[in-house]
Amino acid sequence: MGAGLAAAVVPGCGSGGGGRSGALQVWGGVPAASGPGDVVKAFQEKFPQYPVNYTRFVNDDRGNLKLDTALQGGVDIDVYFTYSQGAMALRAGSGLAADLTDRVTADPDLKVFLDTEQPRSYIDNGKVKALATAREPFFVLFNEKLRQQAGVELPQAWTIDEFRSTAKRLTTDKTVGAYTVPDIARIALGPNYWYDGNRSNFGDPHFEQGFRVGREMIADGTAFPWTEVLARHLDAYQQNSFLTEEFHLWSTAPFNLRYLYDAKKYPHDFKVAFAPSPTVDGKDWNGGSFSNFIMINPKSPKFEAAWAFVKFWLTEGATPMLKGGKLPALGGVTDDQVITGMLGKEPDKYFDMDSFRRVVLEADPKLATDTRLTGFPEITLAVKQQRDLCWLGEKDPGVAIREVRRLADAAIARNERRP
């Protein structure tokens, strides 16, 4: 902890530190080679008067701490990215994000960022502090080879019960039907689903339903055993088990498509088809969200250059980010650009293009981006811990969700008491 204070006093050790330079300093979590490098290059062609230096930080606890201390200590950072909601609330609420309200309001291209139904921005006390650069809808991937062997139809619309029965039909001796169940409460409740007034919302039955369905699917062998997920740290490497056909249905987002179009690097011999996320009780919120929020350091002496960069990224420059599976938050890309950007050089070889067009290009799913973030990291941990115990079969779903509710209520109360 003392190291934290010491870091706050002596910040910015390492790359990107030091005094003010002439170039616009941009910090992001995506490696430059995965898109940002090309965005910067395109920006500099259009705005040669604004040289840009892109610095990558690793988007984990340590990397974010490095960014926080650098921002706090006055390291030369003009524009930076925030990927987790918890960090965004802290940064925006601690004076580390410039107020972009006037710029957004004045620009007709950016008015959509003022939408609060399906928010694409983070608004702190009525001020726009962060703008989403990416749109990451969830969908369900099918292994076409195994689907056809099982004689299962590719769904174009389905319910969570149909998802479950499909997983059952796809389960064989060698392949589990699904990795896990999609987030039922999210689909039913949409954004900010953890909160209800000044308490948590875990009394809503959809949360217990999610825990229960997941546990039952694991118990009947139609979802991946959670002991294996934990023992092999599979949550971070789901793609490996999908590629080796250990499980079939995979509810995921575009950022994982990069593993599916390079059979040399990630060997597999099947095509992948797309189905939309299932619905719950007629509700159809998508488990994905607007994400990859861009923010401007309020201490930046190069605000105009920083804003030019932010606007460029949002409105015309984000195409290179498609290769990392990041659809631009404002669209502005053609279908062909999306296909070649996200599905590699031989899309027809690895993907069922009809279903891709239907589910990704033509659909307009309702994305649920959380903007209420009180006690967010604590609640995230409580949900994960209790879900693990429930899906390991050690705790009843009702008991687990009640524990989540108790911990979440305490976290909300504690954080709302803080100055």
Partner: protein, 309 residues
């Protein structure tokens, strides 16, 4: 002649006395790089923890965001079930892993002290876990203890046992304890080995002449001569086990549930995941005092026994 020599030596000492001060400063210059490091990376953080323990601070708000809140953090700690759960787990971890590591280290040290073929190689092999990178250790044990395909469970299957290890809230802590013991035994054995080689030979010879049994020689000669080493090992192992973090962060991240959230990991979560740096510092301070008390009690208990012997 002798008087003259003494007088000369005295004169030399008198002449050199004024030179002590400058030599002292030169000494400081030699240790300055290390001293600066200690001040920057140990002393300042240490003082900071004490100060921050009485504040509410999220780091991101900067030094201006520090709010002093008196003893609120300590009152909150007293009422925090998560803290007491973490303390309980840490005590289990320390109380089980440290004595077993010492006992097995002693047994191994005695075994390796005998004239065995390939003794030097065996010593190196047993010491290896102590110097291998923690990530390599963690990944290896993760594979060995895979509940379905791991080597450990394949062996245990023969006895009808199939623990869930890191995928079970009941077995994850025992699994970490097994790893801690495995990692510490070689180190203990090496320390014991050097102590055993310093044990007074004449006492063993006298005991042999008196016809003492092996157990009697161990109880009366070996064990008392190893007591200072044992105290050293207990103190360092207790401190080390209380601060156990690397393997937990790497393998279990405190889970499943909170079954391996020991006090060090709880402090990390509170500070670096929840950004409650003031509260995390207070936990650090309380833990420091706890470990200090535990260490002093151990030291005093062993010291008393050594004197009685």
């Amino acid at each position: 002649m002798a008087t003259a020599a003494v007088a000369t030596a005295s004169a030399v000492r008198t002449e050199k006395a004024p030179g002590i001060k400058p030599r002292g400063w030169i000494g400081f210059l030699f240790i300055a790089p290390n001293l600066l490091g200690v001040i920057a990376f140990t002393l300042i953080p240490l003082i900071s923890v004490v100060v921050l323990a009485f504040t509410d601070w999220n780091l991101v708000s900067g030094l201006g965001g520090i709010t002093f809140n008196g003893i609120d953090n300590f009152v909150a700690i007293a009422r925090d079930p998560g803290f007491w759960h973490a303390i309980g787990l840490t005590l289990v971890y320390v109380v089980v892993s440290v004595p077993l590591t010492v006992v097995l280290g002693l047994a191994l040290g005695i075994a390796l002290n005998r004239p065995l073929p390939g003794r030097a190689v065996l010593r190196a092999i047993f010491f290896l876990p102590y110097i291998v990178n923690v990530v390599a250790i963690g990944m290896t044990w993760l594979m060995l203890m895979n509940p379905k395909a791991g080597l450990v469970n394949q062996v245990l299957d023969a006895f009808g046992i199939r623990p869930g290890w890191f995928a079970s809230s009941h077995w994850a802590l025992p699994a970490l304890i097994v790893m801690a013991i495995w990692g510490g035994v070689g180190y203990c054995s090496l320390i014991y080995l050097s102590a055993l080689q310093d044990a007074p030979r004449q006492l063993y010879e006298a005991a042999d002449i008196d016809g003492a049994s092996a157990w009697a020689k161990f109880r009366v000669i070996t064990w008392p001569s190893l007591l200072p080493t044992t105290i050293f090992l207990l103190v360092t192992l207790i401190i080390g086990a209380s601060q156990g973090f690397g393997l937990i962060a790497l393998i279990t991240a405190g889970g499943p549930g909170d079954s391996t959230t020991t006090i060090s990991y709880y402090m990390y979560q509170t500070g670096f995941q929840f950004y409650r740096f003031g509260y995390a510092s207070a936990i650090g301070l309380v833990t420091f005092v706890g470990v200090l008390v535990l260490t002093l009690l151990t030291w005093r208990a062993q010291r008393g026994r050594a004197l009685n012997e």
